[in-house]
């Protein structure tokens, strides 16, 4: 498990390195060192026994993420430019169904991209969310977003459901 995870991650980091630097042959030694260091750091920060993210599912998630990022930017730009400044900011505490910290951070990132909402950290199966228009909050929508994020992980994430204790 640990070996497979180390191998997966080093291939991923190697691909990142080749994409970012062009991967010329005389820089290979530095690339190798960087990939090894990144893999070690990654295994230390997020050990192999944690629920993993399934890469092809992330690829399926990307189009929607890009569309959300576009709508999020458009929405906030419209509000900032409107002379009447149509915002009614406020906080809500959203209940989550899963306690996993990595899923919470990822959900926070995605929520912050969505139009009108900004995550302020999660913990204890709940997340503080700041809204530009607090009257427009939908708990159902938040739950749907959480389900979508949990769907990016492998099955080990289910063991951290609130319902499972």
């Amino acid at each position: 498990m640990r070996l497979a995870s180390a191998l997966n991650r080093s291939v991923f980091f190697a691909l990142l390195w080749v994409t970012l630097t062009g991967g010329s042959a005389d820089a290979l030694i530095y690339g190798g060192l960087a990939v090894a260091a990144a893999t070690l750091l990654s295994l230390r920060l997020y050990p192999a026994d944690q629920p993993g993210i399934v890469l092809w599912r992330v690829a399926g998630f990307l189009p929607r993420f890009l569309a959300d990022a576009f709508m999020g930017g458009l929405d906030v730009a419209r509000r900032a430019l409107d002379p009447r400044l149509p915002i009614a900011p406020g906080w809500v505490r959203a209940q989550l169904t899963n306690r996993n910290e990595a899923a919470g951070v990822l959900l926070g990132g995605v929520v912050s991209i969505l139009p009108g909402s900004l995550a302020a950290g999660s913990g204890d199966a709940a997340m503080d969310v700041h809204l530009l228009n607090v009257t427009g909050y939908s708990a159902d929508r938040m739950q749907a977003d959480e389900r979508r994020i949990l769907g990016l992980f492998d099955r080990r994430i289910d063991s951290q459901d609130v319902a499972n204790g």
Partner: protein, 103 residues
């Protein structure tokens, strides 16, 4: 001027407009968390459009992939810092106002 040049110009102009809107939001919005909305979301989109313009201008897949990665890293960094700043704004707000929703 080719169609590509026109598209590059249009993308650059729109991207800069979003940066402008983000900065305007930073000045006009009333509290820390609302300002973070403007900075992260409008600037992410602005950077995305400028990056798209750059990718189109150089017209190579390798450059486009590199620029897409740079955009993704910037979005991840902005998302994480904005969550940390929003967290602090939330804690400060709770301390100074019991209902915690004012600046």
């Amino acid at each position: 001027m080719s169609w590509i040049d026109l598209a590059v110009l249009a993308l650059l102009g729109t991207g800069l407009a979003f940066y402008g809107a983000g900065s305007l939001g930073l000045l006009r919005f009333p509290d820390t968390a609302s300002r973070l909305h403007a900075l992260t979301k409008a600037d992410n989109l602005g950077l995305g459009l400028v990056a798209l313009a750059a990718a189109l201008h150089w017209g190579s897949l390798a450059v486009a992939a590199k620029i897409a990665l740079v955009w993704l890293f910037a979005v991840i960094a902005a998302g994480i810092t904005s969550q940390l700043l929003a967290r602090q704004a939330r804690l400060d707000g709770t301390r100074s106002h019991p209902d915690g929703d004012r600046p």
